[in-house]
């Protein structure tokens, strides 16, 4: 993929991807184009060249809404919940495109994040940062996506909540959902990753399994602090 917001490209021949049931993590320094790459995959950014393949189908020309219908789901980094609506309404809105019974998915999300069940009548804007992230992930899961894209799900939450969230993300992947996420906490994220992409200035600098990247001296020195 090559593309950017204005005249200048932010991504240069960058490739990211994930397989069913796997977790792929995109890491890299600030301004490397991690979030931009996610947006490009989801169709929120016009590509100058390159393509997005989903389930063997070229979806490059599809609008984000249509990608949701195909089974892609995206949790943005900021403003990822409906603050004035209750937790349950947030989840219902997640399932907006579905016309079938959503009770099962609702219970699934509540099983995954029990605290949301407790607070289901509370406006999402009144929840703590970690709980909000849970609502955001829950909302994205309600579409029953095949691939779940997370843009820095642990931004601004405490280390304990972060571990908890990572555990849940592993659980979601085990249910057969492909997970593609951007992470600031590179070390922890690569530990749970089946696949890792190190992005620098819009290029793929390293691509390998999470473990291999963690073992790579150069990656450790440059991005993981030794």
């Amino acid at each position: 993929m090559t593309g950017g917001y204005g005249a200048a490209d932010i991504l240069h021949d960058c490739t990211i991807g994930v397989e069913k049931g796997q977790i792929a993590v995109v890491v890299g320094p600030n301004g490397a184009g991690k979030s931009t790459a996610m947006k490009a995959v989801f169709g929120m950014l016009p590509l100058r060249s390159g393509q997005v393949i989903f389930n063997g189908e070229d979806v490059t020309q599809l609008k984000p809404e249509d990608r949701v219908l195909r089974g892609m789901s995206f949790v943005p980094q900021n403003q990822n919940v409906f603050t004035s609506m209750s937790v349950e309404e947030n989840l219902e809105m997640g399932a907006f495109i579905r016309t079938d019974d959503i009770t099962d998915s609702l219970n699934q999300v509540y099983d995954l994040f029990p605290v949301l069940k407790e607070k289901r009548k509370q406006p999402a804007g009144q929840l703590s940062g970690g709980q909000r992230q849970q609502v955001a992930v829950g909302r994205a899961l309600m579409t029953q996506p095949k691939v779940l894209m997370l843009d820095e799900p642990t931004a601004g939450v405490s280390p304990i909540v972060m571990d908890e969230l990572f555990d849940r993300i592993i659980e979601i992947a085990r249910m057969g959902v492909a997970i593609l996420m951007v992470e600031q906490n590179a070390k922890q994220a690569l530990e749970i990753a089946d696949k890792g992409f190190v992005l620098v200035q819009g290029h793929n600098k390293f691509t390998n399994s999470g473990k291999a990247l963690l073992a790579n001296q150069e990656v450790r020195r440059a991005f993981l602090g030794g």
């Binding site: 984000p64 809404e65 949701v68 219908l69 789901s73 995206f74 943005p76 403003q79 990822n80 919940v81 409906f82 603050t83 004035s84 609506m85 309404e89 219902e92 809105m93 997640g94 907006f96 495109i97 909302r139 579409t143």
Partner: protein, 337 residues
């Protein structure tokens, strides 16, 4: 004791009942403004004229019905003409949206552009309305004038002061309650209503959830046209229909929406009553009330009126300015439905 009761009846008759009915009209108007602001994100100056347009179609239909002898006595015939007014206004509003607002929406014009465009729409609609029905006063009220007459009340209670309830006041208050309850049920309990709130709360996330923005915009205009027609007709029934009045009504309506917190429907309703009662409280002549409550033999020279009724509109303006200085977000923090 009787004096106290007389004072209460006097206040109810000239302040509380008119305040409730005027407040209901403002609340319905402000709800329309707030819906446009919450979903389409601009201040719709054309709203007063939308109310006027809806009332005009209702009046024309009422005259048609009257001429063929349809009547629902003792209720005003206009009540059965309202649905026609609503439907025509919905089509007209959607036509304006498609021909005017849609262009700016697809270009993602900023709110100020929208605001100025809506002023253009306001002048256009105002001209069209005066072209069709003329600038003069139109009285289209029929049916029984009073639900409760002052004389009957006096005979019933033996008090000196009478309490009257005009048919239009009763109809206004009851209709407003039904409409508001219906609107809130729609916004909080239906899929479409919730999707409107979601869109108003966070447009991007609504798109990511697969909510269709075109449908949200469509439903919003339908609701706005419905509310405007009802508010405009009720106001016209209660006072009289005069095209220019609706332009002046825009100030108290915007004041109501802003005082309550623009974008917030509960705020619009509370704001409507706050503005209505402030206007009446500030311009009410308290002389007789004071005479009833003061010890016997007191004489009062003045009318004890804080402001002349001519300054009514200034009251809403002053409240608007104070709110914008002290608490710009309104009583209830606005922005989302």
């Amino acid at each position: 004791m009787t004096d106290l009761l007389n004072a209460i009846v006097l206040l109810s008759n000239f302040l509380i009942i008119p305040g409730l009915s005027y407040g209901s009209q403002l609340a319905l108007g402000a709800l329309g403004v707030t819906l446009v602001y919450g979903v389409l994100r601009f201040s719709n100056f054309g709203h007063g004229e939308t109310m006027s347009f809806g009332a005009m179609v209702t009046i024309l239909t009422t005259w048609g019905l009257q001429s063929i002898g349809v009547s629902i006595h003792p209720l005003p015939t206009a009540l059965i003409a309202i649905p026609v007014g609503i439907i025509v206004t919905i089509f007209f509003t959607l036509l304006i949206d498609q021909t005017v607002y849609k262009y700016h929406r697809t270009r993602k014009a900023n709110p100020v552009t929208f605001l100025i465009v809506s002023i253009g729409v306001m002048f256009f609609m105002g001209g069209l309305i005066r072209f069709i029905i003329g600038p003069g006063d139109q009285i289209f009220f029929d049916g029984t004038r009073f639900i409760l007459k002052a004389k009957e009340f006096k005979e019933l209670t033996g008090l000196d002061e009478g309490l009257s309830l005009k048919m239009t006041q009763g109809v206004t208050i009851i209709t407003a309650i039904i409409i508001v309850a219906g609107l809130f049920w729609f916004l909080n309990h239906t899929r479409t209503g919730k999707s409107m709130r979601a869109y108003s709360d966070n447009e991007n996330l609504a798109l990511l959830s697969g909510i269709n923005p075109r449908k949200v915009v469509l439903v919003t205009w339908i609701l706005v046209a419905t509310l405007a027609t009802i508010a405009g007709t009720l106001y016209g029934l209660d006072k009289s229909f005069k095209p220019f009045v609706y332009m002046q009504l825009l100030l108290p309506i915007f004041a109501s929406a802003i005082v309550g917190g623009v974008g917030n429907p509960v705020g619009a309703i509370v704001g409507g009553y706050v503005i209505a009662f402030s206007e009446l409280i500030m311009t009410f002549a308290y002389k007789k009330v004071v005479l009833y409550l003061a010890p016997e033999g007191t004489t009062v020279d003045s009318l004890i009126q804080l402001l002349g009724t001519n300054y009514k509109i200034a009251v809403s303006f002053i409240i608007l300015v104070i709110v914008l200085i002290i608490r710009p977000t309104g009583i209830f923090q606005g922005k989302t439905l």
